[in-house]
């Protein structure tokens, strides 16, 4: 039987899916034990037990000076920046995408502009953003918006243009104005794509967020990682990295669930 036709059964599929995770965990444990055997003071690969210990402490113990549990505080600050950045970018790209896709006049004006803007490397703008918007929340949110909105806009405008011409004509013969076509024909059909774009943009948004927090911040997950790096606190860094990964996964999962619930018509033909 050809390899391309060989499909794993249910149990095997689960085992295969778990395999890489187990392999990485195993490699880490072995590496950690080898290093600690040579030097018990080694901080590079803390033992799994130490990690668990640190995890419990970071999730539950308040910092003495401020009385706050730093991890939750950092999480709140970072999620606020991330979600407002991606949310604003999504709204902006939705409006611009509809306008560019639907209105030939605006397409002429805006599409090249957006294409050029999307070529600007956002991180290179970071110093400018800090100068203009200060070191507070605004500059970080703006960085995420600048970093994600142009690509989302171009994609959405393209999706609008891909809506079959027949539907747009049909709507006109039913008396729909440009506004009604935008609101009732085009918008509902590109919303699923907007959710997909947000899911894709979240990865980039995390990148910009952590970069901005590393450079200038007083709180946030990225800030904390770069702060404790000075003390070589690998255990805390690893816990934070795992936590960020989990958050990213949960956000993606939530958006996917939302999309499935909200857009039943997409699956009607399946």
């Amino acid at each position: 039987m050809r390899l391309i036709n060989r499909k794993p059964g249910r149990v095997l599929a689960i085992v295969l899916a778990a395999l890489p995770f187990v392999a990485v965990a195993l490699a880490y444990t072995i590496g950690s034990e080898m290093r600690l055997a040579v030097n018990p003071q080694d901080r590079l690969l803390p033992a799994p037990a130490t990690l668990l210990d640190t995890a419990i402490r970071t999730f539950t113990e308040a910092e003495r000076r401020s009385g706050r549990i730093l991890l939750w505080h950092d999480t709140g600050a970072s999620l606020f920046r991330l979600l407002s950045g991606v949310g604003i970018a999504a709204l902006l790209s939705l409006v611009l995408g509809l306008v560019i896709g639907l209105l030939p006049v605006m397409r002429g004006t805006l599409s090249n502009f957006v294409a050029v803007i999307s070529m600007v490397p956002p991180l290179a703008l970071l110093p400018i953003l800090f100068i203009f918007f200060g070191l507070g929340e605004l500059s970080k949110v703006v960085l995420i918006v600048i970093g994600t909105a142009p690509v989302m806009t171009r994609d959405l405008a393209q999706r609008v243009l891909e809506i079959p011409r027949e539907q747009i004509i049909k709507a006109q013969t039913l008396g729909a104005s440009s506004l009604v076509i935008a609101l009732r024909v085009v918008l509902p059909q590109v919303l699923p794509r907007l959710i997909i774009n947000m899911r894709l943009s979240l990865g980039t948004a995390w990148l910009f967020l952590i970069a901005a927090e590393a450079v200038a911040s007083e709180t946030g997950l990225g800030y904390r990682i770069f702060l404790v790096r000075r003390f070589l606190a690998m255990d805390i860094i690893l816990i934070y990295v795992l936590w960020i990964t989990l958050l990213a996964f949960l956000l993606d999962w939530a958006l996917r669930a939302l999309s499935r619930r909200a857009f039943r018509w997409l699956e009607a033909g399946l």
Partner: protein, 257 residues
């Protein structure tokens, strides 16, 4: 004066002539079938009737109105595909024919309830009441086209334009659709233009069958001349055309050689 008047219409894209010197006058309530080779400009002619495009030369007027500059409610249309809205339920697709004409495209309260009731009556009439809550993708091709035709008619257009509406259906379904369309026309007489590549279908349904073809042909520049109406058949009397064949155009279609 006739209901639909086409005066010396030409359409050219860049240097390509698609149709030329098309003259036509159609009485209200007539069913006009349009046939012709693939790519000869039938859909282009329909787009001109629809006012989706403006002719390079000449003009089209419907019901004595000045030439339209864009599609409007006077013109109903059904394409071969993509004629209904995939994100609206079957019922909402019918309601859309009433709500899309409002300012924001939505109906509320009593008006919405009434529109829904009317939509349900329409769906019962066309045998789609059992799928009123479904999305179009869950419907068969024939059901989707029935919905598309009912949706177009709900807006009460003056002329109905059909571009190969049954082209994607299997033969059995197609015959059902012929009966469906004939019944609808008996109930409310309307002026219909239907493009088809099926000659028998054209003669069966149409009062007149127009043939589009290129009367002039330059082998060195195939795009130099466009197609025009080369035959205009009387197709009444149960679609037995060949006994009532009436040649109208002076230039024969087989002049290209």
């Amino acid at each position: 004066m006739s209901f639909v008047q086409v005066r010396d219409v030409w359409q050219r894209y860049g240097t390509r002539s698609i149709i030329e010197r098309v003259n036509l006058s159609v009485e209200e309530g007539a069913f006009i079938s349009i046939v012709g080779a693939s790519g000869c400009g039938k859909s282009t002619f329909l787009r001109l009737l629809l006012a989706e495009e403006q002719p390079t030369r000449g003009e089209v007027s419907v019901a004595g109105a000045p030439p339209a500059r864009e599609p409007d409610r006077a013109r109903g249309v059904v394409f071969q595909r993509y004629s209904v809205f995939p994100h609206l339920s079957v019922r909402d697709n019918i309601v859309a024919a009433e709500s899309f004409g409002t300012r924001l495209g939505w109906l509320w309260g009593a008006r919405l309830r009434e529109a829904k009731a009317r939509a349900d009556a329409t769906l019962a009439r066309i045998g789609l009441d059992h799928v009123a809550g479904h999305y179009p993708a869950a419907l068969s091709g024939g059901m989707q086209q029935r919905l598309a035709i009912a949706q177009a008619l709900t807006a009460r257009p003056r002329i109905l334009l059909l571009d190969e509406p049954f082209g994607a259906l299997d033969p059995g379904t197609r015959v059902q659709m012929h009966d469906f369309l004939t019944e609808l026309r008996a109930e409310n007489p309307m002026t219909v233009f239907m493009v088809t590549h099926d000659l028998a279908e054209g003669f069966k349904l149409g009062d007149r069958v127009l043939v589009f073809d290129k009367p002039r042909w330059d082998p060195h520049a195939p795009d130099a001349y466009g197609a025009t109406i080369t035959y205009d058949f009387d197709a009444r009397h149960g679609g037995i055309p060949y006994h009532h064949l009436r040649e109208k155009v002076d230039e024969p279609a087989f002049a290209k050689a």
